[in-house]
Subunit: 296 residues, 4 copies
């Protein structure tokens, strides 16, 4: 085979969709996640190919050994892998590591109804080689929670539709009665872009998301509990726009110690019950901008 | 390579996950579906391997040519392919063809709100060689529709929860006021097992499914329309059990000309808004049994 | 709401797609799987609805507690849940539990190349109420492994195609030289249907599958290792039909203590490198039949 | 419900995962795609919510009517929808439309082996309001093709491994004999970012991708054909890095009339036969940069 002129450098070369058990310590307990990784480095124009077996070796060394020696977090593992990639690929200038996993928290509508609820976490770390020093790291941590939204618009028009048949609805004592509307499964994701040394707790991100939905949802709901969740959601009906704004505006208070430079991406999907498609909203900003808006 | 003793016959050998454009005639118009096929035949113990290129050739001949010469239906194409498989694999005793595709119907909450709504169709045909005659055919046709369900149980407990704060709810004039509950996207599938010569219209199956849900759903809903869909659903709240029973009990009237021997599989999934998981129900029976139940 | 006449019994009512961490003991170590469950019971015609919150409660009790008290296996958890479903749904005659999860084993082409390789396990348990005794249990355990297949047919025709240009290929010393062919990712699943009291080890099922493919595959392969895997696969080229037959014929020797009544389902998918579609084969039989074939 | 202070503007609000039949004219024939759309607009801080029903109406008007009045291309439909979104959402400054669909081309290893092969197309259009003029449009068109790659590295090490047993391999007449290696399904995507008025033909993009893989793949391959595809692939073994570089370096010649400002994103995934994970590479650049590299 004739040698190719390796003139074109490439941004990312590596391996993807590789699954590994990753054990992290949370609250003193070892928790094993089934994590899916993607790891790449850039390839300079001077080099024909990337040595991909090193990627699999690094994952084996850093991730596989967590089964016996748990690490502090998924995002910590990401950063370690990103830095080690630059060590083992001396020709590369930058590396990227992505990981995602299902995550569980013990939650319930009341203490005796608690069970493991599932969430979704993902993280990314990019390491960039810096002359004469350790690599520069940028990290992203994303948490995703499924909750419930109830539509304020249909609630208002349903009231108008019902009024002629149920005139008592206009009685002052009924002013706050929650009216029927469509409600649905809502999936919301919050992503922070964090510079080195800045840490954030994924469970706090999940709690922040759930507070921005019309209601959290639960695996165990006995007869009376269902009505409570329904009432909670209908007392706080929200468009996807409201979920986004409430989530964004809550961040300054919820994460007071995070610096202004932290990047924020918020995304929400409502799997509409009255349509076959999803209603979506998203926004990206920084904690600094959100703080300015809050004080405006 | 040493020859293997080909002692073990195999039930199914073939190809799967092969995509083709399939053009069918509906209401005088040619409609092109993006269909995904799987085709297999059995392999007798006397033969080492199945000649798989014939499967791809048959699909090319029967399906590809529909682009210029549309056929009557997806299930007709299935049957033709199943029969042709036995012609081209003379060693095989039976063949199986499966196909699935997204299907569109023009629907709306009112004539001026109509748009293309998406459904899902799938079909299967099995041909069995019969001594001295044409092969025996069994076919399955499945239609799937997404609609809405509202929960009757949470509606009842929500009334109890609201009563203390809104005593007017107990006024006789409010007896039929629909009360808040959780509602959600519901996906329901109806499958008929049909012997040769028995035909059924997929669009009638879709209409039957939508009638069994709390409400159909629509792509275009203007302000007032949303409340109407919400009200329709809350006037007819249904558990998945109710969707199943209403669907099954409607079949004798909806399909009077289908014979008793027609097999029926009904399945429903409610993507609960108050849980992160789905609530499901399913049942299999025959039209004959459903007719007996109806007259009991 | 008018009461419905609850005349139609239903085969399956329950919840699906519910994720839980499930901790099992393997080789003295606790391993946590991210498992997805579906649990249903039948609903008699005498009863309007199934009490679904009991399903979520049973999962919480049996599965969530494994985090602190690991159980012996995924299939054991299935059986326990199936039996408990009949206790908590006294109106039900049968229950069904399904679970699936990614599973990891430490493997490598050599001891110093070992890393966590991913496999897929699933299990099902059905419990049937028996008059005056404990319920009757039927269980299914399935293991799935990704490996490699190389095609014997294209290898043979490639030799014919190359011969005119490379006449030395016909030299006797070259008779066993492995020739180029297409090779690809192959996914094979083995399912056993087991009556109560009959146990089987999932890792043995995985080893049996990998022995039936042209070669297992590995996460870590250094330069020379790749050629070894390639050579292993090309020394044992296999059609999907061969994978099936070799898998089926190996079962009597691999599982000598399993009774004849054990049901067997074998399925294989080759994600062809020369086609955009998959080549598939499957067969269902019993261990008894396979033993008869082996001794014929 | 207390009104929210609508202080935070949002980047994207709209609907996603909505399926429609889209009919386009290609080579004088009407072709119907099953297309999945996502459409959003921004939401200014002055406005509480986006009027989402307008999105569904625009899709119905522009896409549904293509069934009787085909349009010129998927990307043309995208642009029309993006512009119309700004007309119907007068408060919005920018709109975004995304669409994807399976696409078919009649191809074969020889004229008598032709059949419909499946590819994947996606497009995006973003419209930005400009003071006193028509909106500014940016568009992306992506084509994706599945083909085959054979690994040059394992081919070289396999030769070394075989040499001791087959010394004739070192005979000069065998120097070009293709040696066994791992080969696999490769998926490669090419995306162009195009300013208004710049058009490109998706089928040319597909041909360009297939030329950069080790070999295209086909649905119909008779006995001898398989060996030809295998030989073609082994005569041109490629790492994902090679696929990327060959694809990128071919663009200046393949698309001479496209301006320098056209953005280029190239991505490739090899579903490795010797690993359970994928090997990937990607790069983003402009046609101008590629032309500079080509002339360097």
């Amino acid at each position: 085979m004739a040698p190719r002129v390796a003139r074109q450098g490439l941004r990312h070369v590596g391996i993807e969709d590789i699954r590994k058990p990753l054990t992290v310590l949370r609250g003193g307990r070892a928790i094993t996640l089934t994590a899916t990784f993607g790891v790449t480095v850039d390839l300079p124009s001077s080099r024909k190919g990337s040595d991909l077996s090193r990627n699999a070796e690094i994952l084996a060394e850093i991730v596989d050994r967590t089964v016996t020696q748990p690490v502090q977090s998924m995002e910590w593992a990401c950063s370690e892998i990103a830095k080690e990639l630059l060590v083992r690929h001396p020709y590369a200038q930058c590396s990227r590591v992505r990981v995602s996993a299902t995550h569980f928290l013990l939650k319930g509508i009341s203490p005796d109804r608690r069970s493991m609820e599932d969430y979704h976490l993902s993280a990314e770390a990019q390491a960039m080689r810096v002359n004469g020093g350790p690599p520069s790291l940028t990290r992203w941590l994303a948490a995703e929670a499924v909750g419930m939204t109830a539509c304020p618009c249909a609630m208002s028009t349903a009231r108008d539709l019902l009024l002629p048949d149920y005139p008592l609805l206009s009685d002052p004592s009924m002013a706050t009665l929650p009216i029927i509307t469509h409600n649905q499964r809502n999936r919301t994701r919050l992503t922070f872009e964090l510079h080195e040394g800045v840490e954030v707790e994924a469970d706090d991100m999940i709690a922040t998301i759930e507070a921005a939905q019309s209601s959290p949802t639960y695996a165990i709901l006995k007869r009376g509990d269902e009505a409570k969740v329904v009432l909670t959601a209908h007392r706080d009906p929200k468009f996807v726009e409201d979920v986004m704004r409430d989530l964004l505006s809550s961040l300054p208070k919820r994460f007071p110690s995070l610096p202004d430079a932290v990047g924020v991406l918020a995304e929400t999907w409502s799997e509409e019950s009255i349509h076959k498609y999803d209603v979506v909203a998203s926004h990206d900003t920084t904690l600094g901008e959100l703080r300015q808006n809050a004080s405006a």
